[in-house]
Symmetry: C2
Subunit: 465 residues, 2 copies
């Protein structure tokens, strides 16, 4: 009995020490009874008794069904403090903030969007003028729970053109593409679940998944899509709930999923019961449509999402989700609860722009312009020893390897000091295995300064290395 008491007190002292040293700050969850017992090599009942006594003292607080928490004032969710501490230059949130701050003198080859002058400005101005004459309900009323029927009908037809059968009732409008993925994560994930992503993938997927407090496992991406053998291994090893990927043109690599990889991937997805989110925001950049997972799967286990931020306007927020009708129904509830009604104006302006007779012609010209910019940028980068990993068929990105031994984060730091925002590889890599890669947005590389600043940063790096 005396020995048991001593052990209980030892556990209590251990917890108190953790709190005193601020290893455990107020509001954090203590290790589970089982985990604590294992780590301190005592019995489960010893830990239970120690936790109960600390709770009686008010040092920790039990939450029904959720374990014990360190008592004290609220500790807010600090995304930057979750997960391993990253260099600022490869922290997804830092990269986002740098890209989104609008000092017009700063150049942004690291950002993920087109310059304003490359967008369909005339169409948008026409749409705004037309909107100024719209019926008053379009100007002031909330949208319906699923969003503008005319836009959903148009999206349904556009999806049919790339082989995806989605009735307008299977579509729900959202505030943006990121909002679409966030809603799906809230709908399907619980903290501690595992999610597969491509490695590399769009860096904000990392920030988003951190906010959901899930485990993230990266599957290496090949020029034809994810590495199928490693994907199968990850399914076995981690029983993930969700896989989030880009379809069409992959961000950041510019790669295109091959039909063979798509087919193998879907077999694995079918067998495992994994749900897949296919983010299709670059669809309109393609000349030849790549295979869509949602087309093969018939929206059974694949959820298809998109937005208009890359081709119409990032200033007008509107995205969409296409999914199984029962999931759309649950997603509507979640959208209403967390953002109430959507807006009508954004959807109406997007619809007017997409159906404007000039949009198709504008996109044809834009695809040519991007192809030319990809070629020109690749040539200029190669002169600096910066080599594209592949030659993308579409889109604005070149995923490039820097000269051997170069630390992309250090180069990004030098460039930022000269007013050029870069996107270093490890911001995209879950395994931090892209330390010598960088993503270039060819539409933001027209200014010679980009290459001058980069050349100097690379030279300094190579001298110091």
């Amino acid at each position: 009995m005396a020995r048991t008491t001593t052990r209980i007190e030892q556990v209590m002292a251990h917890v108190r020490a953790g709190i005193a040293s601020r290893t455990q700050v107020p509001g954090t969850r203590l290790p589970s009874v089982r985990a604590q017992a294992r780590s301190l090599a005592v019995s489960v009942s010893t830990v239970v008794e120690a936790y109960e006594r600390l709770a009686a003292e008010g040092v920790i607080t039990p939450r029904p069904g959720a374990g014990f928490y360190v008592a004290g004032p609220v500790a807010p969710l600090a995304l930057t403090q979750l997960g391993p501490r990253l260099d600022r230059e490869v922290d997804p949130l830092w990269v986002s903030r740098q890209s989104l701050e609008t000092d017009p003198s700063v150049l942004k080859p690291g950002c993920g969007w087109l310059p304003a002058s490359w967008m369909y400005e005339e169409g948008l101005r026409r749409a705004l003028r037309a909107q100024a004459r719209a019926p008053s309900c379009e100007l002031v009323d909330y949208a319906t729970p699923t969003g503008d029927p005319a836009l959903r009908q148009l999206l349904s037809r556009r999806m049919a053109a790339i082989g995806i059968e989605a009735a307008p009732g299977q579509l729900m409008l959202t505030e943006s593409g990121t909002h679409a993925i966030d809603l799906i994560c809230r709908f399907l994930l619980k903290p501690g679940d595992t999610v597969l992503v491509d490695d590399p993938c769009y860096f904000n997927f990392h920030a988003l998944l951190k906010a959901h407090q899930v485990q993230v496992v990266g599957v290496p991406y090949t020029p034809q899509g994810p590495d199928v053998a490693l994907f199968a291994q990850a399914l076995q090893a981690h029983s993930p709930r969700l896989y989030i990927t880009n379809s069409g043109t992959h961000n950041p690599t510019g790669a295109t999923l091959s039909p063979l990889v798509a087919h193998r991937l879907l077999k694995l997805i079918d067998q495992s019961g994994l749900v897949t989110v296919e983010d299709d925001i670059y669809a309109d950049f393609e000349s030849q449509p790549a295979p869509r997972l949602a087309a093969f799967d018939g929206l059974a286990r694949v959820i298809h999402i998109g937005s208009f931020s890359k081709t119409v306007s990032a200033s007008i927020r509107c995205g969409y989700i296409a999914a199984r009708p029962d999931w759309i129904d649950g997603l509507i509830d979640l959208k209403l609860a967390t953002t109430f009604g959507g807006g009508r104006l954004a959807a109406d302006i997007i619809l007017k722009t997409l159906t404007d007779s000039g949009y198709r012609k504008h996109m044809d010209a834009l695809r040519l312009r991007l192809a030319r910019a990809r070629d020109e940028t690749a040539t200029r980068l190669q002169k600096l020893g910066v080599k594209p990993w592949l030659k993308p068929e579409a889109g604005m990105f070149l995923w490039c390897r820097l000269p051997q031994g170069t630390d992309a984060a250090a180069v990004a730091r030098s460039c930022l000091a000269q007013g050029v925002v870069m996107a270093p590889g490890n911001a995209f890599s879950q395994s931090l295995s892209a330390g010598d890669f960088m993503r270039f947005n060819v539409s933001q590389c027209a200014d010679d300064k980009v290459f001058g600043v980069l050349a100097r940063a690379l030279a300094v790096r190579n001298v110091s290395a």
Copy 2:
């Protein structure tokens, strides 16, 4: 030993039976080891062993640090299945969906917004025409992380006018008022936390808090604000993390916080370390500003939020948060991670409308029109035995008691069958103690049909009662 084995097997059988009967569906969390041990009157170690064996069999899955879950395919978050089963008529999500569906022949005295014809349509049309000539960056670019500086400056000045000191740097724009509260909840709450709300309160707070899987405790609301004694008791009994309330004009009661109650409330908030969210979306309806908690508190523990959906446009999504600078910083990360950049267009149009020379005049006329409509609607309701709980100083709502013994949900059901959407009291009441109340939106009561349908529904109820 034999007896222990038997007990372990009993626990395993109990869990298996729960799964077989679908009491525990795939993806749900099993009771904690402690809770299960208590409810089955066995030792903690018996439950630990039973869970471990079931996990080895693949019946349940341990998640590190989060307990055991029933194995199987993904079980999405179904908001309608969380918490007690409610009558459809008082389910917040059902009330929202009915109100947001746009059959123009349906009358909506139960909805929470003005008719399109009461809004500042001319100002909006002017703003849209001006926006069509705006620089291209305003049309196509993402907003900065905190949002349009000019709108934040205007909001800072508007807040100063009601006594709230908030520098533009303490303000962040959001997609809507609900989005603002949702971000704050994600920032400050964990599942299982306790949140205080007014009883009654805006019904979507219930849906929103369900999505966060927190415990909700209602504090009875008096005509001067929350009942301070019961508020103090709730602080003692539940150690809540957050209190969410309306400032200005309270939804649904139309009550106004008195300076005395505000002061007492803030003393309690100070002592307890509770964080308070003050939702100020009805500010522009006031003639005489009511006390704001954020004004007294200096944004130390009070977070002030608002939007423009009620007075400018619900079609153009834009809200804001004013809070401590360190919290704003954390909220920016969370906003970027979950919605990426905000839009510029919505903020620009809101700014143009609010600074239009006609807005103030429009609001003056609107306040008079609402005052008249409150009087007229109260008179017509009283003839039917429907009595306003108080005479609001501002806003669009009358919170009314139906004739004794009337079930508001049943009345709402009858009215809906006749094409009139009502808002029965228990949709607003956490304790379901407002079964004979109803909220009327006076701006949506111009049509005689509202009163005719209501009179018939009340007559039937009284005959059948």
